[in-house]
């Protein structure tokens, strides 16, 4: 049998004529994606070069929308908040998810329950997450009540109504939902590490920190890249939770690029200007998208 298989393989390699129905199978989904994703995306880019309110005729204005962005203080604030969001939401999900995965990696009694509890919020929508934490942050909510009970009356505040805390309060809620997801990705990555490596390091007398630094982290490199890509793309897409908690307020203090884009489009009816913000989001995501694709395809090269 094994002797016979090489010729069969080379036969396939030469290519038996592909039945026409196969082309239909691949073209139909590709056309759906072209009409439903690529065509609108190109339209979105083109719209960023016009001034349009959706009613009168669109007026081509070249790069004027982008020029206007550079002096728009709300846009600059949203850009800064998006950067804060990316660093805190992305960074803390990464660190928290990795730390909890390390704690929960060994199969021991009870660990399944702990993992499930931390993962559970991930199945809630961002809207449900927002509402749960809205209740926590209410003026008479559990957070303020707890602070009062601890005698920290001066620390109480309107967490979502105070421009100094609103963004960070939302980030805490988003982290609560996201960390379980990152934990699952790291658990899968940790499981894939060859246990003999760790054993060898242990036998050589490496400390816990050394084992983490010189064995675990390098072994997790490809997972790290995926987690970072996912976090950056999700951070740039984040919309639902801000929309449901503060809608960018108070005084635009929690406005992200995505929420600002939405309000300029559907409240302000500045469709061209809003498209320019969407293009900025796209450009910021581009680097990550490309590196993700390169990785995904360099690994599936073997055939």
């Amino acid at each position: 049998m094994t002797v016979n298989s090489p010729p069969a393989k080379s036969d396939r390699r030469r290519g038996i004529a592909t039945p026409p129905v196969v082309f239909v199978l691949v073209l139909v989904p590709f056309l759906v994606e072209t009409i439903g994703v690529f065509y609108p995306a190109i339209q979105g880019v083109l719209l960023s070069f016009v001034k349009w309110n959706g009613l009168s005729a669109a007026e081509p204005i070249g790069l004027a929308n982008y020029a206007a962005l550079t002096t728009d203080t709300v846009f600059i604030g949203a850009l800064r908040n998006t950067a804060i969001w990316m660093v805190l939401f992305g960074g803390l999900s990464f660190v928290g998810g990795l730390a909890i995965a390390l704690l929960f990696q060994a199969e021991r009694r009870g660990v399944g329950i702990y993992r499930t509890v931390v993962f559970l919020p991930m199945v809630f929508s961002l809207v449900v997450t927002a509402l749960i934490w809205n209740a926590v942050y209410q003026p008479t909510g559990i957070l303020n009540e707890t602070l009062r009970a601890l005698g920290l009356e001066s620390w109480t505040r309107l967490w979502l109504g105070d421009p100094n805390t609103a963004l960070y309060a939302i980030i805490v809620a988003a982290l609560w939902r996201q960390i379980g997801y990152v934990m699952v990705l790291f658990l899968a990555g940790l499981k894939a590490i060859d246990p003999t490596l760790m054993e060898a390091a242990r036998v050589d007398g490496a400390s816990v920190w050394q084992r983490f630094r010189y064995v675990t982290l390098p072994q997790l490199r490809s997972v790290n890249l995926v987690v970072i890509s996912i976090l950056v793309i999700e951070a740039l897409r984040s919309f639902d939770i801000v929309y449901a908690m503060t809608n960018g307020g108070p005084f635009r203090s929690s406005e992200l690029l995505s929420t600002y884009m939405y309000s300029t489009a559907f409240t302000g009816r500045q469709l061209g200007y809003s498209s320019a913000i969407a293009v900025v989001i796209f450009v910021l995501a581009l680097g990550v998208i490309i590196s993700y694709l390169v990785r995904a395809f360099s690994e599936s090269k073997e055939d």
């Binding site: 759906v32 339209q43 509890v117 559970l120 209410q138 909510g141 897409r237």
Partner: protein
Amino acid sequence: MTTTQILNPPLSPPSGSNTRNRRWRVRRHANTLLFHSSSIVISAFWFFPIALVILTSFRSLSDIFQNGVGSIPGSGLVITNYADAWTEAGMFQAMMNSFIITIPVVLLSLGLSSFAAFALSRYRLKFRRTLLLVMLAGNLLPVQLMLIPYVRIAEGLGIFDMFVTVIAVQTALGLGFYTFVLYGFMRAIPFELQDAASIDGAGPLRIFFQIVLPLCRPALAALGALAFTWIFNDLLMSITLLRTDDKFPVTAAVVSLQGEFSAQWNLIAAATVIAAIPCVIVFLIFQRSFIGGLALGAVK
């Protein structure tokens, strides 16, 4: 024999002196204690907000008005909030809308992407890698780029504020990722099976439905469970493409409920719990494939 024994020392401590043995056991106990106490603290932090919202959903309105959302319940618990949320606050209608949108999207996007993955992974088509790359790239685009064109196109075609529009858009948006994952899965199926079937005269469709698709059941279950929660939980597309309140799915309905019944946290909490239930059920049923599916996209 001797080498394996050296490489795999027995897990129990070397039985030398009795005191060393005891010290080892104490350290192991301390370790277990430390693990469980830190895990319990973490789990408590994660579970606490959920417990709180469940508790709030059973409190009466007067209790919340008198004592605040964050207080210990002052009076007895009631179940009427759920009935109110279900009927008066429109959660029943919203739940139906969510299913009307989610189920067709899951079936359509998984169906179409398994066609594409089958053709790309089982036949030597030209440009198949390019095609797969382009399809996955489409999935990674920020949806913000497409929002205004979606509304414009839907208005142009006269299908704005209709379920079919949300279904079409969500189906198209998911295709790239599902195709990519299924492609990886289908490529691992031995070609000998397909060759044997071809020799017996089976066409591509027969090979797809009778050989490849049944073997992909685990991947389809994982992606199906994930897709269900992703579509069910989405807010942005519904509020962009739908206008009538009666057509809002659960996510959008809960957000507008929050504005409408702003201080009635008992009702909002009940609606929140209702909104979370379908995905929790899907998660509990498909737990293993669900988590496996998340890792599938990341670790290959």
